[in-house]
């Protein structure tokens, strides 16, 4: 019985696939053929698998950007903006760090400045939340639009490749590009760093005092201040960690994949990170699985379109259904010795912290 609930995400995915099948039929195709093409294109093909991994990197990092603050009861839905600012910071570092410095020194600096850029952008809603009580959901999302326009303007004014038909930056130097670890593919080292981040954060949340403090704030901020935790500082910390993850996602897209900073380069990884987080029940380790799966859907979409003619946006609808069914699944919790009428109490791995409701205030 317990297992059934532990793998709630699996049920959400299955339900979404069933409903999605009807959408495929609506689009005039055979669902089995569509899914067959989708999954074989994503997971059972060397190049497909590589492209799944390539997409997994930003999805996983964007998922972590949601998970860490949400474990403290705060919704960071502005990952998209943090991805853009992180990419901008990383690109500027890549373009302007003196080439006299060895690449082995510049590369870590680029990665760090990307993380820093994302973290600083995430600190804006966190500061507003901690010191002015302003709803972080509204501000973090609106800041995403600001970030996207800001990046566009900066490319336009400073970074633009001369004569480019639409805004994109000059190419970053070859010596700071992330190495590829699967031959003849685009699978770059950023993927491995993303995986490392997930494992490290998993350990931090479970085994360190910081992780415990995040959990307590997520459960109950009043008890957290009573416990001596500086709740305001913890809000900033959790957002900064989240923003840094998103910033890495953006930077890796530049130095790992596209070699330039493009205007509007992210297809909504920030928001998709929320799906990853929910599907993974806020566990950084499960987020690896969730991100891998969603990345597979996206990578296989093209194969599906070629095979059965169903538009690639079918996968977006599928993602929407998954997150909807995850929400439905939250209503059914495994609670030993409790009747359905008793108050739901969020265990961190199973649900969103109680304080999330309080985010609604202010």
């Amino acid at each position: 019985m317990r297992l059934v609930f532990l793998f709630k995400g699996v049920w959400a995915v299955l339900a979404a696939l069933v409903v999605g099948a009807f959408l495929v039929v609506l689009a005039g195709a055979d669902p089995l053929a569509a899914y067959g093409a989708l999954f074989s294109g994503a997971f059972f093909d060397y190049y497909g698998l590589a492209s799944t991994l390539v997409r997994m990197s930003p999805l996983l990092l964007a998922g972590l950007a949601v998970i860490v603050p949400l474990r403290a009861g705060l919704f960071n839905i502005g990952g998209e903006g943090q991805i853009y600012i992180g990419a901008l910071a990383g690109t500027v570092a890549a373009l302007y760090l003196p080439e006299a410095l060895p690449a082995a020194l510049r590369l870590p600096l680029i990665v760090l400045s990307g993380a820093l850029g994302g973290a600083l952008w995430a600190l804006i809603p966190a500061l507003l939340k901690a010191y002015r009580g302003i709803n972080e959901i509204i501000t973090s999302l609106l800041l995403s639009y600001v970030a996207i326009y800001l990046v566009g303007a900066v490319i336009h004014v400073w970074l633009m490749e001369p004569g480019a038909p639409y805004p994109y930056s000059r190419e970053v130097p070859y010596d700071v590009l992330l190495p590829v670890f699967l031959p003849r593919t685009e699978a770059h080292a950023g993927i491995l760093i993303a995986l490392t981040c997930a494992v490290v954060l998993g350990i931090v949340l479970r085994r360190t005092t910081l992780g415990q403090s995040i959990t307590v704030v997520g459960h109950n901020p009043a008890a957290a201040s009573y416990a001596g935790i500086n709740v305001k500082r913890l809000i900033l910390t959790s957002f900064a960690i989240g923003g840094a993850m998103a910033g890495l996602a953006g930077t890796f897209e530049v130095i790992g994949l596209k070699y330039r900073l493009f205007d509007h380069f992210s297809p909504g990884y920030g928001l998709q990170g929320i799906i990853v987080a929910f599907l993974a029940s806020l566990s950084p380790l499960l987020a690896i699985v969730a991100a891998f799966f969603l990345a597979g859907l996206q990578a296989g979409a093209g194969a599906m379109q070629r095979a059965v003619g169903v538009d690639t946006t079918m996968v977006e609808a599928l993602q929407g259904l998954i997150v909807l069914f995850v929400a439905v699944g939250l209503a059914f919790r495994y609670r030993p010795g409790r009747t359905a009428g008793k108050p739901p109490a969020g265990a961190p791995a199973a649900a969103v912290p109680e304080t999330a409701a309080k985010s609604a205030e202010g």
Binding site: L143, Y149, G268, I274, E316, A317, G320, P343
Partner: protein
């Protein structure tokens, strides 16, 4: 930069543009405000705008009439509201989680369905939308006339919605019950108010109102559907609710402020071709955030917002 203020025709046009741009915000804000007054945090407004927009495009495309678009938009809005209520009220899933889920669903669902439903995609649509109705005599008043009395049906519907919400909330027993449910559902329950029924009704009504905002974008502004065309307007609407301190008329004014500012930045964009347009395009979002930051005093939301009600919770 501000010369246009002194030119009646230009100023009138500026006001009219601002008003048009604020319309989706107003519908979103009114829908969200109604829900929050009953203690439900409807963060899904963004998704409901999008569903409303898609519904409007679909309805207008199928029936060939703008009215058909509104009808389908309302159906989509109501359906999203029912989903929200089922999950957030009956099953007591965290309202923010549910809201975000609805937004993400709406984004994916509409972008796929628009490709299934409209040959060549939503962008290729040339829908028959609403046309302005000139109210005789009044519409001839200089400056204000064309702004207020030469608008389309949805504008007058918006006025009716705002007035209705204001009156219901503060002048009727039903409104008293709604406000009490938002402040203290246990109190309302003990006084015999049907808390669950009321929240269901309010969420569905609010979601339908919000979907009208999407219908307005499609049927009165652009006459086509494009992916993610709500572009954060639902969240600006949420900001307007806070800025308007949960009062319908004040929230309406907040939306107008945002809309006029949007019109202003469009003028600036037009007047300063040397500046990158993004600098101006980001301004409406910046202003919404600044409005929240600069809010004088602390605006108090209804006390029970965001909390599911559980009678047997001890």
């Amino acid at each position: 930069m501000f010369d246009f203020v002194f030119d009646a025709a230009q100023f009138g046009e500026f006001l009219a543009t601002g008003l048009r741009l604020s319309m989706p915000l107003i519908f979103a804000a009114m829908g969200g405000l109604l829900c929050e007054r009953a203690g439900v945090f409807n963060i899904a407004l963004e998704g409901q705008l999008l569903l409303g927009a898609f519904g409007a495009a679909l309805g207008a495309h199928l029936t060939g009439m703008a009215g058909g678009g509104v009808a389908v938009a309302l159906v989509f809005g109501a359906a999203s509201g029912l989903g929200l209520a089922l999950l957030g009220v009956t099953l007591r899933v965290n309202q923010i989680v549910v809201g975000i889920a609805v937004i993400l669903f709406a984004i994916g669902f509409t972008s796929f369905m628009s490709r299934v439903a409209f040959e060549g995609g939503g962008n290729s649509l040339r829908l028959d939308g609403f046309r302005p109705i000139d109210i005789p005599i009044l519409s001839d008043i200089p400056v204000i006339g064309p702004v207020l009395f030469a608008q389309d049906l949805l504008f007058y519907l918006m006025l009716a919605v705002v007035a209705a919400i204001q009156i219901v909330l503060f002048r009727t027993g039903l409104g008293l019950s709604i406000r009490a449910v938002g402040e203290s559902p246990a109190t309302a329950d003990a006084a015999g108010v049907p808390v669950f029924t009321l929240r269901y009704g309010v969420i569905v009504a609010g979601s339908m109102i919000a979907s009208l905002g999407g219908a307005y974008i499609v049927l009165s502004q652009v006459f086509l559907f494009s992916d993610n065309m709500s572009a954060g307007k639902g969240f600006i609407g949420l900001a307007a609710i806070v800025l308007g301190r949960w009062n319908p008329v004040l929230a309406l004014l907040a939306c107008l402020l945002f809309g006029l500012f949007d019109a202003f930045q469009l003028r600036l964009q037009f007047q300063s071709p040397d500046m990158p347009f993004q600098v101006f395009a980001a301004l409406p979002y910046v202003i919404s955030i600044m409005a929240l930051v600069g809010l004088i005093g602390r605006a108090q939301p209804p006390a029970a917002v965001g909390r599911p009600y559980d009678r047997e919770m001890r």
